[in-house]
C-alpha cells in the first residue's frame, strides 16, 4: 500500500492535456496548487480554495471537478484537462473560447477558465445540451462581473456552432 509520509514530497504521475506529467509534491497539496506552482500551468485560477466559487474547475477523467478539492495524494493516474488544453493549435481559440470573445462572456476573466472547462466537458458529452442543462452546469460557478447573461449567450452560440459541425462532420 503506497504510504505518502507527511515529511517529504512524493512522486505523482498523471496525464495533463494528453501529455504524461511526473512531478514531486506533498500529499496535502491541492491539485490547483500542484498545477500552478509545481507544473507551472497557471491557466487554472484559484478563488475560494474550499469548493464554492468554481474558478479552479478542471476536467478529471471526463467530468468537471474542483481542482481545489483534490489532494495531490489522490491525483496519481488521473487524466486531467485544463484550459491550456482547449486551443486547437497554438494561438487559435476553440469554438467555445471564440464565442466567449464574441459575446463578451467575460470581463475580468478570473472565473472564465473554470467556466470554459465545465462547458467544454458538457458539450463533449452532450453537444445538444439544452438551456436548462447549461444553466444548471453554470450554477457551480460564481461570476461577479457579467451577471451571467453574456455567458449564457456565449454558451448557446458555441453549442449551436458545435452542433452544426457535428451534423456536417
Amino acid at each position: 500500500m503506497p504510504r505518502l509520509t507527511r515529511d517529504r514530497r512524493h512522486g505523482v504521475r498523471f496525464s495533463l492535456n494528453g501529455h504524461p506529467v511526473s512531478v514531486e509534491a506533498e500529499a496535502r497539496l491541492s491539485l490547483s496548487d500542484l498545477l500552478r506552482h509545481v507544473v507551472g500551468a497557471t491557466g487554472t485560477h484559484v478563488g475560494c480554495e474550499h469548493g464554492v466559487c468554481g474558478a479552479c474547475t478542471v476536467e478529471i477523467d471526463g467530468a468537471p471537478a474542483r481542482a481545489c478539492l483534490v489532494l495531490a495524494g489522490q491525483v496519481e493516474g488521473m487524466s486531467i484537462r485544463t484550459v491550456e488544453g482547449l486551443e486547437p493549435e497554438p494561438g487559435r481559440l476553440s469554438v467555445l473560447q471564440e464565442a466567449f470573445r464574441a459575446h463578451h462572456g467575460l470581463q475580468c476573466g478570473f472565473c472564465t477558465p473554470g467556466i470554459l472547462m465545465t462547458l467544454d466537458s458538457l458539450f463533449r458529452r452532450r453537444p445538444d445540451a439544452g438551456e436548462d442543462e447549461i444553466r444548471d452546469h453554470l450554477s457551480g460557478h460564481l461570476c461577479r462581473c457579467t451577471g451571467y447573461a453574456p455567458i449564457m449567450r456565449a454558451a448557446l452560440a458555441a453549442r449551436d456552432v458545435l452542433m452544426r459541425e457535428e451534423r456536417h462532420a
Binding site: 505518502l4 507527511r6 474550499h50 474542483r66 489532494l71 495524494g73 489522490q74
Partner: protein, 275 residues
C-alpha cells in the same frame, strides 16, 4: 487555507484500510471523494495525522440491488448513483434529491457515503436515508455492524462512526408498491445547502415527513393525510419542536414557516404520487 500535514495512505484492499484506521485510532480519517472533507482540511477544522484513501478498493465501488434495498458502496460517487438507470424507478426520493446535492462539479467526485459521514444538518442524502428508514453498514478490524439511520446521526456533523471504524456501504430501501415520495428544498441559490429541505413518504396507511436544515440532524414524524383538519396543527407542532435557530441564511421564524408551507406541499405531492 492549506491543510495541515498528514500521512496519506492509498489503501488497495479493505483489510489494508481497516488495519491503517485501527492503528491510527483517533488520529485517522477516511477520505473518499473529499468534496466535504477537503474544505474541512483546508480550513483546518479537521487535522488528522493519517488519511486513508479508500477509492482504490474495488469492492467498495459497487451498487448492489437485493433484499428490498439498494446497497451503495463507500466508493460510489454521487454522479454514479445519479446515472444508475434504475434509480428513478426504484428510488424516486433519492432520484429527486440528488440534483440538489452540491453541483455537477462536486457530484462528479463526492461519494454518497461521504455525504452521510459528513452529516451536515442541511444535507440531502442524510435526509433521504432518514425518510426511507435506511441503514448504514460500518466496518472495523473487529467486525461489522449495521445501524439504522435514526441511530447513525448523533448531532451536527457527528455520527456513530467510532475511531478505527469506517462506513462500508449504505442501504436505501427500495420503492414499495402503493407508496409515493416527494422531495422539496429551499436554498438561497441552487446547489447551496438547504435553508429547509423536506422529504415525504406516503404509504398505503399514512404519510411521514422528514425535515432537514432546521435541527442538528434530520428529523422525521408521522403526519396526518392532507385531507385531515389536523395537518396544519401537526405541521405547526413539528415546526416548533425542531428548535429552529437563526443564522445568516434565515431567521428561526422563516424556517418554521418553511416547515409548515414546504412540509405541506411535500406531503401533498407524495400522496399524489402514490401508485
Amino acid at each position: 487555507m492549506k491543510p495541515a500535514p498528514f500521512d496519506f495512505l492509498r489503501a488497495e484492499t479493505l483489510p489494508e484500510a481497516l488495519d491503517s484506521l485501527a492503528e491510527a485510532g483517533d488520529e485517522g480519517r477516511v477520505i473518499a471523494g473529499g468534496q466535504s472533507f477537503v474544505p474541512m482540511l483546508a480550513m483546518r477544522l479537521a487535522r488528522p495525522a493519517v488519511l486513508v484513501d479508500i477509492m482504490g478498493i474495488a469492492e467498495l465501488r459497487g451498487l448492489d440491488r437485493g433484499r428490498g434495498a439498494l446497497r451503495v458502496g463507500a466508493g460510489v460517487r454521487q454522479a454514479e448513483l445519479a446515472s444508475w438507470p434504475d434509480l428513478a424507478e426504484t428510488l424516486p426520493l433519492v432520484a429527486a434529491a440528488l440534483p440538489y446535492v452540491g453541483h455537477v462539479q462536486t457530484r462528479s467526485r463526492g461519494t454518497v457515503c461521504g455525504s452521510l459521514a459528513h452529516a451536515d444538518p442541511s444535507a440531502e442524502l442524510p435526509l433521504c436515508l432518514i425518510a426511507l428508514g435506511g441503514e448504514v453498514h460500518l466496518r472495523s478490524r473487529k467486525g461489522r455492524r449495521s445501524i439504522s439511520a435514526q441511530d447513525f446521526f448523533l448531532g451536527m456533523m457527528a455520527t456513530a462512526v467510532a475511531p478505527g471504524e469506517m462506513i462500508e456501504a449504505v442501504s436505501f430501501p427500495l420503492k414499495k408498491k402503493g407508496e409515493g415520495y416527494a422531495f422539496r428544498e429551499i436554498a438561497r441559490r441552487h446547489g447551496d445547502y438547504a435553508v429547509v429541505a423536506c422529504a415525504a413518504v406516503a404509504t398505503t396507511t399514512g404519510v411521514r415527513l422528514a425535515v432537514g436544515g432546521v435541527a442538528d440532524t434530520p428529523q422525521m414524524r408521522p403526519m396526518p393525510l392532507p385531507g385531515s383538519v389536523d395537518l396544519d396543527d401537526a405541521l405547526n407542532d413539528f415546526a416548533w419542536a425542531l428548535n429552529s435557530r437563526e443564522d445568516l441564511h434565515a431567521t428561526a421564524r422563516y424556517r418554521r414557516e418553511l416547515v409548515r408551507q414546504l412540509g405541506r406541499a411535500t406531503i401533498e405531492e407524495a400522496v399524489r404520487c402514490r401508485d
